[in-house]
């Protein structure tokens, strides 16, 4: 399954400066693994001890993955995956 993965500015040193990279997989974990194989090092910035890092938010089709299974969240062909650092609102 091909998906677009959008990277925040702070992680673009891993993507060669690209705002978005291609990934594949049926779950978020698989998509991250596929991105890691093309852009080594990025996975460690996203995942810590088998879970998403506290200050990393990931959205599949704009929905926060923490409410749809986390790393096991289903990803389908053409879905968009957006990675953002957690920042303050309010």
């Amino acid at each position: 399954m091909a998906v677009e993965v959008r990277s925040p500015t702070i992680l673009r040193n891993y993507t060669g400066g690209a705002k978005a990279v291609d990934g594949s997989g049926d779950t978020l974990a698989e998509v991250i693994d596929s991105v890691e194989s093309d852009h080594p090092g990025i996975k460690d910035r996203l995942i810590e001890e088998g879970d998403l890092r506290r200050f990393i938010n990931v959205y599949v089709n704009d929905e926060d993955v923490r409410f749809i299974g986390g790393l096991t969240a289903a990803v389908g062909d053409g879905d968009s995956v957006v990675i953002l650092p957690a920042v303050a609102g309010g």
Binding site: P8, T9, I10, R45, R53, R54, F55, I56, N57, Y59, D62, E63, D64, R66, F67, I68, V82, L84, P85, A86, V87, A88, G89, G90
Partner: protein, 315 residues
């Protein structure tokens, strides 16, 4: 309705049906008009509660200076309450916020310290914490971690929605300090646990996420993800489109963050229609559109509006 003072009139806002935007007679949308609070936003609830609690527990004493990092609405509400109760108010605000917010803050007598645009509210929080260290006698109510923020909604907003709409099935609100949703969520978990609590958070331009490193990320101390059931990120284009739809179809002139919330509420409504599941979906209108006229969100094409909002803290 009679109140002994302006502060006593905070809350008790109308919940109005949306006959045009509701998809069917079985799946209905309801807007909680928080713009009808004294300074025109939902933040009057949290600000007045935080300030009054701090007076009660003795943190605030006559003549105190209050310091708060805020992108606008909380500062405006605090400035109003501070003026009435006799405190000096200092706000730390990102420089990429609308001019109207600055004018309103000044009008209620608040002093503004600018924080850099890059990093958004994160930077405002960081700068405010630094100033608080330099001025140990100043009182930072700190909306991101102050339980009175959530309590205002646990005691007020949540119960008001349930009293007005006992058939409520979903509540949708914005996620910034998380105070609104933490209070509403905790109330419904206890009072009517089958009500689904849905968060809509604004997705800003890249400038706002321009942290130097990931350790500078920020999750409000108040946030407890078990109190919500879903969380959606909504960009400026969808937010503006829905803000305009709300005005066009229902006559409600709301701020841009309300458009983001309506976007999530309409997505939920569509899911309920598809599942043939009756629903009464209440959502929060955080504020009116007045403070955002200068952003250009209400004129021209969506492309133009989106471009103008790039890099701004529009929610």
């Amino acid at each position: 309705m009679l109140y002994s003072s302006l502060l006593d009139s905070v809350g008790g806002t109308p919940l109005v049906g949306l006959p045009t935007l509701s998809p069917s007679a079985d799946v209905r949308l309801w807007a909680k008009l928080e713009d009808q609070n004294p300074t025109g936003s939902i933040k009057d609830r949290a600000a007045s509660r935080m300030l009054l609690e701090a007076e009660k527990d003795g943190r605030l004493t006559p003549g105190c200076t209050i310091l708060e990092p805020t992108s606008g609405n909380t500062g405006i509400s605090l400035a109003m309450v501070a003026k009435l109760r006799g405190y000096r108010m200092v706000c730390v605000m990102p420089e990429n916020t609308s001019v109207e917010r600055r004018q309103l803050l000044a009008m209620w007598g608040a002093e503004i310290i600018d924080s850099p645009a890059a990093g958004g509210s994160n930077e405002a929080v960081r700068v405010a914490k630094g100033i608080a260290e330099e001025h140990p006698d100043w009182v930072m109510l700190y909306q991101y971690g102050n339980p009175a923020n959530a309590l205002a909604h646990y005691d007020g907003t949540g119960p008001e929605i349930l009293a007005d709409l006992p058939t409520v099935t979903h509540v949708v609100a914005g996620l910034g300090t998380t105070g609104t949703l933490m209070g509403i969520g905790r109330f419904f978990r206890e009072a009517k646990p089958d009500v689904r609590i849905i968060a809509a958070e604004p997705r800003y331009g890249e400038l706002v996420y321009g942290l130097r490193n990931l350790d500078e990320g920020f999750v409000p101390e108040l946030y407890d993800e078990t109190l919500i059931d879903a969380r959606f990120s909504v960009g400026p284009r969808d937010a503006v489109r829905r803000t305009r739809e709300l005005l066009e179809s229902e006559g409600i002139f709301a701020g841009i963050s309300t458009g983001a919330i309506l976007h999530a509420a309409l997505a939920q409504a569509a899911k309920c229609v598809k599942a043939e599941q009756p629903a009464d979906i209440a959502f929060v209108v955080c504020d009116g559109g007045w403070k955002y006229l200068s952003t250009g969100a209400y004129e021209g094409s969506l492309d133009e509006a989106e471009e103008r909002l790039e890099g701004q803290l529009w929610a």
